[in-house]
Assembly symmetry: C2
Homo-oligomer: 168 residues x 2
């Protein structure tokens, strides 16, 4: 049965969830077969990869090729829980709160990468700027829209003066 | 027992997950009590709200106040699954693939908002640019780093000429 209607639950049935479960919509194939050597940010990578969307979600890719970049949301499936709530980030040697760093070792190990779209064909998206381990489960794909998503910040905390290079 | 070590699972134990489950780390309080009138993007909102991080995760907020903006990842808990894989976005009247639009009605209803940090005190983060329904479960908070996250795009697909205004 094809689903055509977007529906909300009733407000009276709204309960704060104890647990939130998702099904992966795909898998990413990348050159990074081990943890070592993975770029720490997508903006620091010029490696290519392929997001394979599972066949049942393929029709959701319509029109995506019209965008140059996407947000890829994925699950850091190699992370052992629980994680420390404070630790040292890759680019500094002082202990920080986990919500002030971008480590994969997070209470909910969700990753975000901004990837350039090179091609969309059938159920596959070829992408650039990959900083993701091979075979990582994909949670969501959204179009990146610079008009919405590029934000002028005035403080980048401990990262100030620690960002040395950037490719894209 | 305090967790101090970041650990990976063994590669030999790696299995592609059928389901990925998370526990909310907090809840957001916003002026939007119903779906009507919620701005369609955080960059189009100047409404304020408060992210309440649950006490057990409070120490993860250390150093976050040093940043001016954060990524807030949350669960669109009002969405009834399954959703259509193609539908009309808010800003156009042609049918698009769900991964080429930013509707909350997604196979995995995860939202991303870029919010300005106004204050961090105890387990609460006061934020600006809120486009999120009151009482929405929060999945993750990451520092937004313009040097990493502002990306120059060359194509924004069907959204070209459809973006009329932006506040921040």
């Amino acid at each position: 049965m094809e689903i055509t209607k977007r529906e909300l639950i009733n407000f009276k049935d709204r309960n704060f969830p104890k647990q939130i479960c998702f099904k992966p919509i795909g898998i990413i194939h990348t050159p990074f077969k081990t943890i070592k050597g993975i770029p720490i940010q997508s903006s620091m990578s010029n490696q290519k990869g392929t997001i394979e969307i599972f066949p049942e979600y393929k029709s959701g890719l319509k029109d995506l090729f019209e965008f140059s970049h996407l947000y890829c949301l994925y699950f850091f499936d190699m992370v052992k829980l629980p994680v420390p709530l404070q630790s040292k980030p890759f680019l500094d040697n002082k202990i920080k709160g986990v919500f002030a760093i971008r480590t994969p070792f997070r209470p909910n190990p969700i990753g975000i990468s901004i990837l350039q779209i090179l091609n969309v064909e059938e159920n596959k998206i070829e992408v650039n700027n990959v900083d993701i381990l091979d075979y990582t489960p994909i949670l969501d794909i959204k179009p990146f829209v610079s008009e919405f998503d590029n934000v002028k910040t005035h403080k980048i905390g401990w990262l100030k003066d620690r960002i040395k290079y950037k490719i894209s």
